[in-house]
Every structure is written in structure tokens, then in C-alpha cells.
Subunit: 341 residues, 2 copies
């Protein structure tokens, strides 16, 4: 698995240099992570190796490892255990993506054909399983980390399952939405921050506050992700968009829109959403966006994400003394809500 | 997850009492395992719970836990760690089944509709992931077990992936077949036997010999499984048969048949196998069985399984002193090759 192509500048390819500058403080940690992952996946079966090679082209923003490292640097030094846990966190995330893309029937991710669309469903399922298992193997090398990481993985999958169970449920409540994204996204950010702090010698109180910060950062991240799926530009975002709409997933923009309408408008919206399978996908997407624009939902959703980030920063300030790493965390939190991909 | 319905007699429902009598020595261990699993899955999300309830109806022969317990009883007492590891082994096996059934597009397993055919692919993928993750969580409670179990899981999935990579490869060599079944099936039997011994205070030499025994038992088990998929009676076996043939999987019966034919016959067989998608599935199955019967492949394959079991018993005799548990292992080994489901 060649995670080692191009080094730190690669992180922001296609984006402005924002993220690279945010990652400056942890660039050597990220480089060490890549080298570690490269070594871990060096000698597998040829067919598995081919799939991992393909997968390495998806390399994303690595925000979770960056959080783990920044959190560590708020309290002390980065050691081998940080690298190992960062690898596990990234592998868990990668495995969920491989299975997610299959679940969502997404065709492209980060401008590359998804595994299932290139190699078939069977390969995608098993590749995800292999990556999970490899992550668990690595996690057993770090004292007290394996259980936290396995538990977190279970919660993520339960969150996804809740989402699957609610596909097409147009009545999904806002609080159910937040419960789902807490599990499927936020807790992995939270655990990354906890582990980074814990392994750098933070107290339990500090680690708990950092976990709280991470959870909120993750919630904000997912709100924006869901928003980009509706409002984003596919070229800029670099993955198939409109998949939530096509799969009957109620996300914050639609929930906010629905809950702000009067009875008559609401009925008309629900009719549109129920009948979407009979419509052309692009036309349906445009029609939904017209509704959202009319009621200025994008602003409302961004505002909500900003509130969450403001709370996150409060937790951060409780947890960590001011330092360069904490400053970069603040910038990262702002980036999360301002990003366009 | 109600693993606790019916107790020990339930193991052999629909079968003769053979297995129940084989499990006599470990019946209280198996009962403790069920209670443990029942407790572990008591308080999950309603939708997840519904799926687990459905899954519990598949309850199989639990051969791997039985091996773990018997192996433990060859060397000492059964403790809580045995129960936990048996639970993990069973969960790993169950998760692979859930994903396998999806991969094989199987419609029934143990006379019950498979998860994916009842709840859809999304639910099946995530349920498998949840079960794996739960298994890893439990494994972290047993010293030195988590890494072995995670590594084993990875190897199982790599074995499955090799099988996927070779789907439709009519030239698959017998040694490649054995490499695949070693990974996808045998090593979980091997690890069950190793863990049982290890946790009961066996020496490393004894644990290694028990692992060797388990590996060979697993190979024999898989040879018979593959044979049942071709020759078995669907009513007796209780799952969709002929799936290997339909999915272009070359298993030992076909490999043996192919390698025993002269050039002309072989070409004719390969033509049949290549063209199977244009044929009715049942007709194709019958045609293949006609070939296999003509060359008495069933006998040849059973003989091969018997050789493997004979080797397994040698390892068993090296590892463990004669005792009731070892005697039951010998009976179990014979059952594995004589079973009809």
C-alpha cells in the first residue's frame, strides 16, 4: 500500500494550500504514518496488493490522524504509539469508506473509481474486512488502545446501520440525525483526540475534554459533508454527489427545510421526495436545491455547524493550555466548516 | 442475540444425535458460551437487535467453540477466558458467513433466509462488520489473544479474496486450492485448538501441535463442505447448494476430475464449465454430477479427507495424553468426514 507517494504537499492536491499549512506542525508525523502504513502492507497476496495499490490513490485529507497528532502535541511528544494508533484510525476510516461506497453505490471517490465499481462487490467487502482486521492487529501493540478502537468501530457500524434502517424515512427527527452522525462520524474524531492526549501523558480529565472537542469537531465535519452532498460542486468535491438524496437519506438540510415549512408546503415537499424514483436524478437534485435555496437552508446549516465548532473550541480551551498545536486546532476547526470539498 | 434457546439438544436439531453425544463432555461449556453471547448482545439498537435475532436462528454446529473447549479439557480446566475466546471464534465465523452468503448470493442457510436476502445487502455488510468489531472488543479482555484472533481474521479474509480473485479460473491448481482453504477455513480451527490449550496451561509445544491438529481438521472439514456443495442433498444440508459451481469456484472434486482426464475429455469438461452461464442451473449441476459419478470422484475426495484426518490424529496424539477429551476429538474428527450436512 503506497501511502508514501508525494509527501506532505500531496495532502492538499487540487485544493488550496490551506490544509498543508494547517498540517505544518504535524507534517513529519504524517510522513512517519505513511512510512509505517507502507511497511505494514508491503507483503500481501498479489491480488490484495493490487486492490490496496488502487485504494492508496484515494488518499484523503487524513484529518483524523492529524487530530491525533495535534492532540498529542498539545500535551507532549509524539511517539511510536501515536503513529500506530493514527494508522489504526486511518485504516478504520478507510475500511468504512470502502464499505460505504458499496452501500451508497458511489462510482467515484477523490476522482478515482471506487473499489466496488472497478473490482466488484465481493472484492470491496473483503478488502474492507482485511483493512479492519489489519487495523485491529496493529492496535493490539498499544497498551489500552485496542479495546477503545474496537468499541469505536462497532459504534460506527451501528450508526451506519441506524442510517440504513432509516433509509426512506422522511420523518427522521433532527435529534435522530444527530444521534446517527455522532456514532458514524463524530466518535472516531473524539477517540483520535483522546488517544493523542492519552499517549502524550495528559490527565484523564484532559483526555476526556479533548475527546469532547473531537466529537464536536466530527459533528461539524459531518454536517458540512452532508451539506456538500446537496450543495457542492462535483468537480470541486471530487466524489459522486447527490447520493444521500438518491438513497433516501434525510440529512440536516432536508430536515431543516421540512421542519420550517407550513403544512401545505410540507406536503408538497414530501410528495417530491417520495416520488423521486420516478424522476431523472439530476432534475430531482436541482428541484431539491431550488427548495433549499428559496428557504436559505445553506446559511442555516452553516450557522449550525459554526455553533457546534464554537462549542468544540470551548472544550479545547478547557482541555489544553495555549500552544502552537492548539492554535492549529483552532484553524483546523475553522477549515472544517469553510471547506468546499 | 438469543443464543440461549433450547440448550445442548438444540445443537443437533434435524440431525441424528451424533453431534450431541460428541459434545457431551463440553455441553456445559457450550451452554456457558450461549449465556455469555446472549448477555453481550442484550442492549443494542432495535434494528440491529432484530437482525441479530434473525441471525441467531442460523445457529450452527458450533464446531470451532467445541474444538476450543475440548482442546482446553485435554490439558486442564475451562475458565472464563475460554468462554470469551470461544465467543470471539464463533463471532468471527458468523461474520464471515454473513458476508459470504452475500458474496455467494446464497438464499438460505440452515433452513433460514439469509440476512442479505431478507434485509438487503447494506444490512448484511454492516451486520458482519458489527459482529467482527464486537468480537475484537471481547478479545481484548483475554491476555495475548487479541492479536492472534485479529491476525487470523485477516488471513481468513485474504483466503476469501484469493478465492474471489480466482473465480472462473478453471486452471486453479490443487496446491492453490489447498492454500486457499488453509487460510479461509483451517486456521480458525487451528487457532481454536491453540487457544484452548494455551489457556489451560499447555506448553508451547503442545499448543503448537494442537494448532497443527486443528488446521488439518479444518482442511478435512472444508474438503467435505465443498464436496457436499456438489454431491449433497439440499434438504439434508439445509443451505443453498451448487453455489460453488454457479460462482465458477474450482473445488477439489472438479480439480480432481479435471486432472484425471485425458486431453480430449478435459477439453469437453472445460467447455461445459465455461458455458455454464448459458445453461439452466439445475441442469448444469446434474451434468457436472454425472461427470463426477462416472469417474468416482466422490470416493477419491472422501479418501483424501480421510488421509488428512489420519494426519490430524497423529498431531493430536503427539500433543495430548490420552483422556476423555482426546477420545471425543477423535470421534469428532471422524464425524467431520462422515457427516452429510
Amino acid at each position: 500500500m503506497n501511502f508514501d507517494r508525494g509527501g506532505a504537499t500531496d495532502i492538499s492536491s487540487g485544493d488550496s494550500q490551506t490544509l498543508a499549512s494547517l498540517y505544518q506542525l504535524v507534517s513529519e508525523d504524517i510522513a512517519a504514518l505513511r512510512e509505517f502504513l507502507h511497511g505494514e502492507f508491503a507483503s500481501t497476496e498479489p491480488f490484495v496488493n493490487e486492490l490496496l495499490e488502487h485504494l492508496s490513490r484515494f488518499q484523503g485529507k487524513q484529518v483524523r490522524p492529524a487530530c491525533l497528532f495535534l492532540s498529542g502535541r498539545c500535551f507532549g511528544e509524539i511517539g511510536n504509539d501515536h503513529i500506530k494508533c493514527a494508522a489504526v484510525v486511518e485504516l478504520i476510516h478507510t475500511a468504512t469508506l470502502v464499505h460505504d461506497d458499496l452501500l451508497d453505490a458511489a462510482q467515484i471517490r477523490r476522482r478515482v473509481e471506487t473499489i466496488h465499481s472497478r473490482y466488484g462487490d465481493r472484492a470491496a467487502i473483503l478488502l474492507g474486512d482485511i483493512i479492519y482486521a489489519r487495523g485491529f492487529v496493529i492496535s493490539t501493540e498499544v497498551e489500552n488502545a485496542a479495546r477503545l478502537l474496537a468499541n469505536c468501530t462497532m459504534e460506527i457500524c451501528i450508526g451506519e446501520m441506524m442510517q440504513v434502517g432509516n433509509a426512506g424515512n422522511l420523518q427522521l427527527l433532527e435529534e435522530q440525525y444527530f444521534e446517527i452522525i455522532h456514532r458514524k462520524t463524530a466518535i472516531l474524531y473524539g477517540l483520535s483526540c483522546r488517544l493523542g492526549a492519552m499517549l502524550a501523558g495528559a490527565t484523564e480529565d484532559q483526555a476526556a475534554a479533548m475527546e469532547q472537542f473531537g466529537n464536536q469537531l466530527g459533528v461539524a465535519f459531518q454536517i458540512i459533508d452532508d451539506s456538500l452532498d446537496v450543495f457542492g460542486d462535483q468537480e470541486t468535491v471530487g466524489k459522486s454527489l447527490g447520493t444521500d438524496l438518491a438513497n433516501g437519506k434525510m440529512t440536516l438540510p432536508l430536515i431543516r427545510l421540512r421542519d420550517g415549512l407550513d403544512v401545505e408546503q410540507r406536503e408538497s415537499l414530501l410528495k417530491l421526495l417520495e416520488g423521486h424514483r420516478e424522476m431523472d436524478r439530476t432534475e430531482f437534485h436541482h428541484e431539491v436545491v431550488r427548495w433549499l435555496d428559496e428557504f436559505e437552508i445553506l446559511d442555516e446549516v452553516r450557522e449550525r455547524a459554526q455553533q457546534v465548532v464554537a462549542n468544540a473550541l470551548k472544550s479545547l480551551h478547557v482541555a489544553a493550555p495555549r500552544c502552537e498545536a492548539r492554535d492549529q486546532f483552532e484553524q483546523l476547526a475553522r477549515f472544517v466548516i469553510e471547506r468546499e470539498r
